[in-house]
Symmetry: C2
Subunit: 369 residues, 2 copies
């Protein structure tokens, strides 16, 4: 695949269908936005890290399309994925008297994307929005599929909407300056697609991890495109997570407990998912679904990607109990029973419950020195 | 129409279709809920006024359907239609570890319905909900059509979602104990359906206002059913307010300015709409769309219903300017141009702009002693 060629992934959702454009030199190019409906105003939503780098070039690129382009800058970090930050977006929209045709642009990582999407879903009961993800995690995961949300102190992503963007613009050049820790966090969601859907892709990542970590354009283009394709295939079949879509949450049940238990923002979301995948694989093995070879292979790639593989201690007195109680408020839980995304053979996932005592063994083993 | 007979109005919205049941002795009857999907938990959302009267009987009626029925009680009034109140619902849902199948019941007036609907739309990105409206306004207007929202200090209903309930249960007996002021406020939305859609209905209300104000069951049954039918007809053609649905906002552009300008909760929503309809009719007349006879006829019925017909002063220095700036953040505004719902002949509405100076004349005339 030539890195200089524009790649497109289509998300097929009837009248809510949209395209993901993937290449370098995209986000600051007016042509990337030329097919969007013209409107009186646009609002760029970004954060204190990304804004100083990219807000001005984006504003310039949007000028032919919108008479006025406003910007709102949110604090950076998962711990700010709150109502208070969301309200900064509403304040900006209302103080500029933005109408129903105003288009929101999410310029940043997954937190900016999730909050901008929920603001767009809710402002005047729905205005258009565009994702311009600048982190690997946002490009391969959170900008695809229309899940938007904010956190509640008692649980992650508990308040939100299914709401699709008009377009996603993945500019690979923005990944070149991404901090190493953010790149690793994004890789967790890339690696995820292997065990749940495509072990050939998994093997490709194993073989090309060096090129990815060196940020070679062709390697970045491949992982972004393939991840988006797999996610598009899943979401196209189950937009509102009635069934299949839940497999995208591999590693997330344990991962969300880690994030909430340590406090949002202590571990990056991708770090929690990386460790959560190891735990979910171990649980799959303890239930006899996969063998130790698979668990080791997955654990090694996650570790090589620079991600934690050892579960953190959340509670000195009853650590496993704390994990379990945090997991019971997971959105997949039903009548208090935790639903885990498990691997029943490499490349295939299943959603099911597990006996508490087996889950406890996984947590206890994972937290031992 | 026999008052003891169950009336049903169908809202036809493809897979989001639902029914409105209208009769006395409905809300506390388990049969009203027997067709709903069973689930582990339900949450009744009510307020400090309605809760003490009706929460226990509703809880009892829901017991066959839900293993656990929780209740959350919100402060009563439009001034509490805020994020803070909404968050009390999320706190209740999360502290009871409510899952995606938990059903919310909105037991109260329009404020409770709007907030419960938005909470249901947003909790875990969507859980089912049922409307049990206990005010005339909620029965004839806010519980039909799926508009949910909270207020923002800079504008009414600015943050929300289109989200349809599973069912609406209109118990006419709850109107028997409604304070007179609340009954009048509800009548504003009933009267509204005349000028925009059905002048025969308008004439019926003129002829039967005494029976309505005496809370005669047959009269209440007729106005609730006919109002829901007209709204259902409009919403069925335009669920997301792309065009026609905006006519339901007759009186609301001026009305929202009054509510926001005086401070939410000073005038009831229906009072502001009553006065707003008079102003919108006057504007229609000044633009040559209707004659003075129609304006007088409408004004008289609104006054007889116990509603204000004289616009309040919002600003001593520049009252009309204050109205105009408040109306410019209306959701129907486009690129700063206010869109008014006007009557172009009795029984038919049109959405259009109007010159600022004519709008000023209406406001100045309406605020004179």
């Amino acid at each position: 695949m030539k890195a200089s060629e524009l790649q497109t992934v289509s998300i097929d959702l009837a009248e809510r269908s949209y395209n993901i454009a993937i290449r370098g030199s995209l986000f600051d190019n007016p042509l990337s936005y030329a097919e969007l409906p013209k409107a009186g105003a646009a609002l760029i939503v970004t954060n204190t890290t990304v804004g100083p780098l990219y807000a001005q070039p984006l504003k310039k690129a949007l000028a032919p399309q919108y008479a006025q382009v406003h910007t709102v800058v949110l604090p950076d970090g998962e711990e700010f994925k709150t109502w208070e930050s969301l309200n900064l977006i509403f304040d900006a929209l209302l103080s500029h008297a933005c109408d129903r045709k105003t288009t929101l642009f999410a310029l940043g990582g997954g937190v900016v994307g999730d909050m901008t999407g929920f603001a767009a879903a809710s402002y005047m009961r729905g205005v258009p929005f565009v994702q311009v993800p600048t982190t690997l995690l946002a490009q391969v995961d959170s900008s695809v599929g229309g899940k938007t949300a904010i956190n509640h102190p008692l649980g992650k992503n508990m308040i939100g909407a299914f709401y699709q963007p008009l377009k996603v613009v993945c500019d690979l050049d923005t990944l070149k300056t991404l901090p190493q820790r953010e790149l690793s966090a994004g890789l967790a969601e890339v690696i995820k697609y292997g065990p749940i859907a495509d072990m050939d892709f998994f093997a490709w990542i194993e073989a090309n991890l060096g090129a990815i970590q060196a940020r070679e354009s062709a390697a970045l283009a491949h992982i972004v495109k393939r991840s988006c394709e797999i996610k598009a295939w899943v979401v196209g079949q189950d937009e509102r997570e009635a069934g299949l879509r839940a497999i995208l949450n591999f590693g997330h049940t344990f991962g969300h407990a880690i994030e909430a238990g340590l406090g949002f923002g202590v571990w990056l979301h991708g770090e929690a998912v990386g460790c959560g995948m190891v735990m979910a694989a171990q649980l799959s093995a303890r239930l006899g679904l996969v063998d130790a070879f698979f668990v080791n292979r997955l654990t090694q790639l996650i570790a090589k990607a620079g991600l934690p593989v050892k579960a953190p201690l959340l509670d000195v007195a009853d650590n496993a109990g704390r994990y379990l109680s945090l997991m019971r408020v997971d959105k997949k839980a039903e009548a208090g029973e935790i639903k885990f995304v498990l691997i029943d053979k490499p490349g295939h996932a299943v959603v099911r419950g597990a006996p508490d005592d087996v889950v406890r063994q996984v947590i206890d083993a994972g937290c031992k020195e």
